[in-house]
Amino acid sequence: MIKFDSVTYVYPTGARALSDVSVEVGKGELVALMGENGAGKTTFIKHLNGLLKPTSGRVYVDGKDTRTLSVAQLSRIVGVVFQNAEDMFFLPTVEEEVAFSLRNLGFSEDVVQKRIDWALKFMELEVYKKRSPFLLSGGEKKRLALAIILAWNPQVIAMDEPTVGQDSMQKEKLKEMIKQLSLQGRTVIISTHDVEFVAELRPRVILMSRGKIVADGDADTILTDGELLRSCSILMPQVAATMSRLTDLGFNAKVISVEEAVRSIVKRLMEIEHTRRA
């Protein structure tokens, strides 16, 4: 679905934000892009819909070179939600915000109405249809930004730092929605340094540092590698940090979910007790 072929990107200021990045993301994959502040996550995401074109190398979206398509054309395939939802809002109501993008992308009026209803319902925002986007809470604004993008049903959805400043309830909602989108077969890419969120979502993790991809694998493997994470200014999720302190007792250190950790701890404790008795 997405293919980066030795992509290097240098900002006009000379900052080398991506250097020789090669990676492929398949259809329907759920990917978390992680890395320290300034690692190049946002720059990566801006390449997905052609806002930035590689300085050297190629980016392919659905087999097409991004240099040959406009941002509007690419956006129909890849919907990007940026960190600051407020950067989008300029219309008096939530409903009009969603309609605006649909019309931009050339949908017919009857489809527009259907899509608005569907997207707002999915994001649990129907009640706010007539409200001003500026009066929504932080979490609702974030969901509206996502609804605006979802409305035209892009095959790929990319979100930059979706959990920043969100409370636990909103994060939970966001997590459920991301899971659902992924189940529906969409490709979802999120950039984040929220390890606890990623530990709950358990996606494929692409770890970046200083413009390079330093690791790529499933969340259970990467989020339990303390040293690797630390080199990207990331800390292990608390479950993994806890388990890694108990490896000498034969506890499984490669766990990131609470339930699994509990199961494995109880099992191991029982075993220890058993051997002692015997």
């Binding site: 806002l51 407020e86 300029f90």
Partner: protein, 252 residues
């Protein structure tokens, strides 16, 4: 935008950087006066050479050249306007004269900009702030000046972010006629304004917390002090200027 590039400070450690900003400002002003006083080509060329030497001493030649390059469109405009003005009013007899006078005017503009560019390239905005304070400009104005410099890059980034967010919704900013394009500014300007308001509120809150305006007798961590090298530089440039004045008035 490359003109602005020439007004941005880059940290440096040369003798020119270390000069008292007030002295540097005065030198720029004297240059300006010379540019106004003289129209003779050879003097103007000499001034440019002096500036080039200063830029070289301050190790900012490349950025200084950028300013000059950036000021060319403006110079061309001045040249064009003057030529038209001279021709329509018939101020000068021959075409040659018209061209010569228009060119010197345009050149003087370049000289003027490049002289101030050296000042800005080698003076920290903080020093400019201190200069203003030392001239008893009320602090709020100095603060406004520093804030403008401090926040310009941030707002520029914000503008880029907003444009990116809107383009990701299918707005094609560079398509359509002038009217359509003007309409497409709304989705950019509204969020920009809303963000600016929010930021202004947050800044005001932070200023309040940091006791802004608590007393009229504000103190300052740093203070400008004239050292011997500053006096020396001042003396040299004033002497040179007086000589130039003298020759203008009595010799030429």
């Amino acid at each position: 935008m490359s003109i602005l590039e020439g007004l941005k400070f880059y940290a440096g450690d040369t003798a020119i950087h270390k000069l008292d900003p007030r002295v540097k400002f005065l030198v720029s002003m004297l240059m300006l006066l010379m540019v106004v006083m003289y129209t003779e080509a050879w003097i103007l060329v000499t001034l440019m050479v002096v500036q080039a030497a200063m830029a070289y001493a301050a190790k900012v030649v490349r950025r200084w050249l950028k300013t000059i390059k950036g000021s060319i469109p403006l110079a061309v405009l001045v040249f064009g306007l003057n030529a038209i003005f001279f021709i329509t009013t018939g101020t000068h007899a021959t075409l040659q004269e018209v061209l010569y006078h228009s060119a010197t005017l345009a050149y003087r503009l370049v000289l003027f900009l490049s002289s101030f560019s050296i000042f800005f390239l080698t003076t920290t905005p903080e020093e400019i702030g201190l200069t203003l304070t030392s001239w008893r400009i009320p602090y709020p104005y100095t603060f406004a000046f520093i804030s403008a410099i401090r926040f310009t890059p941030i707002i520029a980034q914000e503008l880029r972010d907003i444009m990116d967010a809107q383009r990701s919704r299918g707005i094609e900013l560079d398509k359509g006629g002038p009217l359509q394009r003007a309409k497409k500014l709304v989705p950019i300007l509204v969020p920009l304004l809303a963000n600016a308001l929010r930021r202004a509120y947050e800044l005001a809150e932070a200023m309040e917390v940091k006791c802004f305006g608590a007393t009229k007798n504000r103190t300052s961590l740093r203070e400008l002090k004239m050292r011997s090298r500053d006096y020396a530089a001042l003396l040299v440039s004033l002497t040179l200027f007086s000589l130039a004045m003298y020759s203008r008035l009595f010799l030429l």
